[in-house]
Symmetry: C2
Subunit: 211 residues, 2 copies
DNA sequence: GCCGATGTTGAACGCCTGTTCAATAGTTTT
DNA sequence: AAAACTATTGAACAGGCGTTCAACATCGGC
C-alpha cells in the first residue's frame, strides 16, 4: 500500500507496467511486447514485471481485460439521460476522437489477433464481446420498449458488425465521411420501427426501412 | 525449372514454404511463424527457407501479397454476367462458406495486425485496400451507370466498412442471421437509387452534421 | 533498533530465434 | 566427362527471449 514517493511523480509501478505493456502492444504488436521491453518502457527492473505478473500471459491477460472493461463503458447506461438519448450517444461515441485514436484501435486489433491465436484469450474476449452486445441490446430495449429482447439482441448484433467494421476500417484510413454515414446506419438500425413478425426480407432490393 | 519428382507429389518447394507460412500464421499468429516452424511444416530444411526468401520479412511480405491478390479476385469483373448480377454476386461472395472459413479470416486479421505494427507491410496493405475499393466501385458503376465515380467510391467505402465488420465479427462467432442481414445491407447501399445531389440522408431523427 | 513483509534489482539459466555458410546432391551446359 | 549452375542440407553463431533467484532497499509495527 505504501505510495512510493521519490518526487511526487512515481506511483503505482504495477499500473505503469500494465500501461507500458498496452503501449508497446498498440505500437509494435505482440512481438514488440517482451518482458524486457515492458520493463524498459515502464522504467523498472526486469524482475519487477515478473513480480507483479507471474507470467507473460498473465500480463497480456490483464491488458486484455483492461481493454474489455473500457469497451464495456461505451454501452454503459446513464440514468441522467432519457433512454433514446443514451442510445444515440452510445452509438455516436464510437466515432469520437479519443476512440478513433490509433492507439485504441490498434490495441483492439492486436488483441483480437491474439485471441484468434490463443484459446485462453479467446474465451475472455468472447465473454466480453457477449457482454458488449448485451449492453447495447439493453440500450436499444430501453429506447424502444416495444421490441422483444430477441429483436434487441439481433439489432445489437447488426450494429456491432458495422461498429467493428468502422474500427477496423479506420485503421486502414478510410475517409471520415464514410464513418459518419456508417454511424447513421447504426442509428437507423437501432431506431427502426417494429415491423411485422420476423420479416427476413432477403429480397434483392427491398429496403429494410428508413424513417 | 526442373520439376522435382521423387514420387509424383513433391513439387515446387517454394510454394510449399509460402503455404506453410500462411498456415502457421493463420493458426498461431505471427509468433507462431518462425523460420524453423515454417521449414518443419513445409517438410524442408531450415536453410531452404532462407534460400527462397532472403529475410523473414520477405516471407511475410510474400504471404501478405498472396492474400491481397486473393482478396482482389472477390471484386474482379466477370464479362459473362450482366453488370448487376456481377455486383450482387460479388457482394454475396463475402459470406460464402470458403471465405468465412476460419483460416482465411484469421489470416486476414493477423495480416492487418501485422500491417498495423510495421510501416512496410502497412503500405502494401493500404495499396491493396485501395485497389479493392476501386474494384468494388467499378462494379457499382457498371451496375448503376447513372452514378458519378465519386458516388461509386463512396458507396464502395461504405460497403467495405460492413464487409470488414462481417469478416471480423465472424471470427468472434456472431450468429449467421446477422451476417445475412448485413449482406442485404451492402446490397441496399450498392443498389440504392440515385437521389438529389449529395443527399446524405441521415434523417433518422437529427442529422449528424451539415449537408 | 530490530523484524518480518513488501518492493525492487540485475545477473544467471536454458531455450529459441534469424541468419550465415561450407558442404553436398542434382541437373544442365559445354 | 568435366564444368557450371541450381537446389538442398544442417551445423554454427550471436543475440534475444521468459523465468528464476539470491541479494538488497524500504517500510510500518513492536
Amino acid at each position: 500500500m505504501g505510495t512510493n514517493t521519490v518526487n511526487g511523480e512515481q506511483i503505482d509501478r504495477q499500473t505503469r507496467i500494465l500501461e507500458a505493456a498496452l503501449d508497446l502492444l498498440s505500437r509494435h504488436g505482440i512481438s514488440g511486447v517482451s518482458m524486457r521491453a515492458v520493463a524498459r518502457e515502464a522504467g523498472v527492473a526486469l524482475g519487477l514485471v515478473n513480480y507483479y505478473y507471474d507470467d507473460k500471459t498473465s500480463l497480456i491477460r490483464a491488458a486484455l481485460r483492461r481493454v474489455d472493461e473500457h469497451d464495456l463503458l461505451l454501452v454503459a447506461q446513464d440514468p441522467s439521460l432519457p433512454a433514446d438519448e443514451q442510445l444515440r450517444k452510445a452509438l455516436r461515441r464510437v466515432a469520437a476522437a479519443d476512440l478513433l485514436t490509433t492507439r485504441y484501435l490498434s490495441l483492439r486489433l492486436h488483441l483480437w489477433a491474439l485471441a484468434q491465436a490463443d484459446e485462453d484469450y479467446a474465451q475472455i474476449n468472447a465473454a466480453a464481446f457477449d457482454r458488449y452486445i448485451d449492453g447495447l441490446a439493453a440500450l436499444v430495449s430501453n429506447a424502444q420498449p416495444g421490441l422483444s429482447w430477441e429483436e434487441c439482441r439481433a439489432r445489437a448484433a447488426d450494429i456491432v458488425v458495422i461498429q467493428n467494421g468502422m474500427w477496423l476500417t479506420s485503421l486502414l484510413g478510410v475517409d471520415k465521411e464514410s464513418i459518419k454515414r456508417s454511424i447513421s446506419r447504426t442509428e437507423e438500425i437501432a431506431f427502426a420501427p417494429l415491423k411485422a413478425q420476423d420479416q427476413a426480407d432477403s429480397k434483392s432490393s427491398s429496403p429494410l426501412q428508413e424513417n
